[in-house]
Subunit: 296 residues, 2 copies
């Protein structure tokens, strides 16, 4: 089945990247901290998007698509490690286990994040020997989605500004890496990435709104991390701005826009199915029922 | 004069990279923290090496050499910002002014380091449109020198291990980025980088030993940062391992090896002059006299 093959390719690509970092001479505790940050994974939704779009575009260079998928997931993992640091969220749990700074200390958590960022670019460059002409564009797409002025690091930095717009914050903090996932999937396959950007952007924003909702309405055991953190940390939140029912409606609207933004072609049905499955996973009936109960 | 032109190219390339990060939509405090980390600079020895070697190799693609120089300096600045964090050196002063975490807070210091790492790869990729075939090798050289298993992040991580060899620590923490500077200067100019690697590696190790010596024997006002930090932080140090006079002899030996490793060619005399000037700057006569006095 296609989904199983995609999942296998993602885990293989991530294992290959980590193997680069764990080669002879590596300081063992940093290598272990990096592995802890990447395995076992969460939903791997970003690399799934990369490969799903690459397949929809003919998958013209599978190793390059795999490397782009791994790069984007490594950058996501790096951002989680740094966001969990004591100076930010001081989070103790992530994906149901200790966060990196709890398990390995703050210093190795800073370094693990740094090393994962570098590894993302390194593994992408290493996979581009067959199609070097695709590398400048791919690197640009990935780097812009993570860095300044509009990537996830910029999104996180809006938490340190006195004023912030919720839309800009969510666009940078989550939408940007999703947009890079769909765009880079197409570019890695040798097709223009731009037509694929909106699909990722809308899906990423829907994902962030769903995260805000789950932060208010979930059971922490099911979520694998604490709830109520947005309010406790005074973070911008769609649930706080719009109310739970308003946020639900906003999330459904964003998912509909994502669906509508999928370019036509033989890969479109599989991508629509992916979005529907994600929607069910992000906002399961238990949560929608709970929100209806709270509103009653 | 050649030195002045090189310095001008470096500052222009760094300004160009920072301008990418400061474009519309950037969170202003993070943009300011990044600028604080990069300007005004220190000795800019690493980017000087990149451009000096590129010139010795014919400087076949000046924008690419400039971007490699900027990338390596941005990565150096990122490592200083993270090394200065409270969980590592808790340093208050750098280059005579407040460190980033003192001026902007710990969260923006973490993010500034992250964003500078991303910016390094982004600006390198952006400059490779004319010579995309050079990009995979260049990216690999730069990424390996910063990441795992043997780059500067790995070097810093050895401070978190129970046992460490001084030579491995210094090779990763300082030698690696110097070796990438000389190697990438040649590659950016379209020449093989490997013959240039040893020159950078030896010079970088000499630089680290000189730094250890100055940490023991300098005046903090002249150094622009506190002294006595290696001992206070239990860091591996050539001065502690070999004594001041032994470390001086070791440093001179490394400088001689660096000098001998400069490949022959019409650029060799300028590079030898650069090494001599650096040797005088790193170990000025005031320090060598002070060491002689202490030994008497």
């Amino acid at each position: 089945m296609e989904t199983g093959r995609i999942e296998h390719r993602i885990e293989q690509a991530l294992q290959g990247a980590l193997a680069l970092a764990e080669a002879d001479g590596a300081p063992p505790r940093l290598a272990a901290a990096m592995r802890h940050a990447v395995f076992p994974g969460g939903a791997r939704i970003r690399p799934k998007l990369v490969l799903s779009v690459a397949l929809a575009c003919g998958d013209g260079d599978p190793p390059l698509a795999d490397a782009a998928a791994a790069a984007i997931e490594l950058l996501h993992c790096a951002s989680l490690v740094h966001d969990d640091l004591p100076c930010f969220d001081a989070a103790l749990l992530r994906r149901g286990v200790e966060t990196v700074h709890v398990a390995y200390g703050e210093r190795l958590a800073v370094l693990a994040g740094d090393a994962l960022i570098v590894l993302a670019f390194q593994s992408l460059a290493a996979a581009a020997t067959a199609s070097p002409r695709r590398l400048p564009a791919l690197m640009g797409i990935v780097a812009r989605s993570v860095g300044m002025p509009l990537g996830i690091v910029a999104g996180q930095a809006w938490e340190c500004e006195p004023r912030v717009s919720l839309a800009e914050y969510q666009r940078a903090k989550t939408g940007s890496l999703f947009a890079a996932a769909t765009e880079s999937g197409a570019e890695a396959a040798g097709r223009p990435g731009a037509p694929w950007r909106d699909f990722g952007q809308w899906l990423g924003e829907a994902y962030q709104v769903a995260d805000d909702i789950r932060d208010v309405a979930s059971d922490p055991a099911a979520l694998g991390k604490p709830v109520g953190q947005d309010q406790a940390l005074c973070r911008p939140s769609a649930a706080a701005d719009l109310g739970l029912q308003g946020a639900m409606a906003h999330c459904r609207g964003l998912l509909a826009r994502a669906m509508a933004a999928i370019p036509d072609g033989r890969g479109a049905p599989a991508l629509r199915a992916l979005v529907r499955a994600e929607a069910d996973r992000l906002l399961p009936s238990a949560i929608t029922a709970e929100i209806a109960r709270l509103a009653a």
